[in-house]
Symmetry: C2
């Protein structure tokens, strides 16, 4: 129940209708006895800088969840970066610190890896293809590397995967799933009807794991194709739920 | 239950903890079958212009309730003004129109008069002293004049009541309650512990009506003093509740 004393957080993205954070985080806050809430904030790319300038002036907003397409752009508005954020080059979480400065961190990769562990994927020593070298792809690749996987990055935009791979200290290559233990989709392909698959799902085999980041539709075309070929899969929803508690911890650390 | 599809509205003010709009309007939206919510937004005077610039870029925020101290400042951010707003010179309601422009209106005065009618005060032909010539005072004076009362405005700031009285076509004078049928407090005096009363309550007599705008504390020092002298009173809460349905109508007219 919102009132004037509710400690507010935003989730900023575009589109916004598909975000799960309000529905997943608000019950966690309530269960912890906090009068706090996450609200959706839809902002276009061209408007993001002016939105952030306004957002920082909201005295009762204590932080922000950042989603597509703002996870890289948000970095220039932050005063401090957590160690993962600095390496990965994107941020999905922003918190106002006690001194009024804004700190960024990223949990996307941690949530994705936690979801994969739930379906039996242990990253250490395994090979992983991460398709999409944007903010989410960087976070997932970073978390997989941290967990001991050998990662190859791929992106349709020339040079994008190569640049990120260099920063993270991993390899880059084509979006060809053959031979990998895990293939994770970190592109938005599948959100819009008629999107092409992020890679050729006909090449998947049953012993492979497939990780998905998309939450709407709940079973993306890629997940349907991968399941049909016998792969063990994680959904965008599983990733979101796995990281919800981590996000609540980060956002509310200064609240009582 | 907030989710990514919730149509959002803000209530902007400073302080913000005392605002009742989220708790009163959100159940009205729910009762009307709308997935919509009002959230508190605390912004300092010095930050208001940059906040408004950012707010207008929120594609899923469809309007704004404006409270102290921003009701006059908001006018310079509006594209169109309702007839009452233009006359009164302040706005407590802002709505994004179908063409993307922002329209301002004001219901403060209407809610205050509706609450007074509930306790038996009929404005037509009666005399009223309105103490405080800021945004709320202007709205209340405007609504009382519209309802047929003879209004005198008063303000501690030299020239402020005179200027507003000239615009509204009424009188101005000292904050002396003697001889008036109604005395309405439209100042924030009474919100902070130790505030002086907005006028000398020892001069009140039992046949007078007293209107209050403050919602926190629920029974302000003025209301306590007026009740002790036998006056019939309206609280800030009564004013808020009386205008809640009017506000919901205005804000959601373009939603389905």
């Amino acid at each position: 129940m919102l009132d004037g004393r509710t400690r507010m957080f935003g989730i900023v993205g575009d589109p916004i209708a598909q975000v799960l954070a309000p529905a997943t985080l608000n019950p966690i806050f309530a269960a912890r006895g906090l009068n706090a809430a996450v609200v959706p904030m839809q902002v276009a790319v061209a408007d993001f800088d002016r939105f952030m300038d306004g957002f920082k002036r909201l005295k009762n907003f204590h932080g922000l969840i950042v989603t597509v397409p703002h996870k890289v752009a948000v970095l220039r508005h932050l005063d401090r970066l957590g160690p993962r954020t600095a390496k990965v080059g994107s941020s999905n979480l922003v918190r106002r610190e006690a001194d009024g400065r804004f700190l960024g961190d990223i949990t996307d990769g941690l949530g994705h890896v936690a979801a994969l562990r739930q379906v039996g994927f242990a990253p250490a020593g395994r090979s992983a293809l991460v398709v999409g070298a944007g903010g989410v792809g960087a976070a997932i690749a970073g978390a997989l590397i941290e967990a001991g996987a050998r990662v190859v990055l791929s992106d349709v935009e020339p040079g994008k995967a190569e640049a990120l791979a260099k920063r993270l200290g991993c390899a880059s290559g084509a979006a060809d799933p053959r031979g990998f233990n895990l293939i994770s989709n970190a592109t938005p392909m599948g959100m819009a009807p008629g999107d092409p698959l992020p890679f050729d799902a006909n090449l998947l085999t049953a012993e492979q794991f497939v990780g998905e980041v998309i939450t709407k539709p709940p079973r993306s075309p890629l997940l349907q194709a991968a399941a049909a070929r016998g792969c063990r899969c994680t959904t965008g929803r599983m990733m979101v739920e796995a990281q919800a508690e981590l996000m609540a911890d980060f956002l509310t650390v200064h609240l009582s």
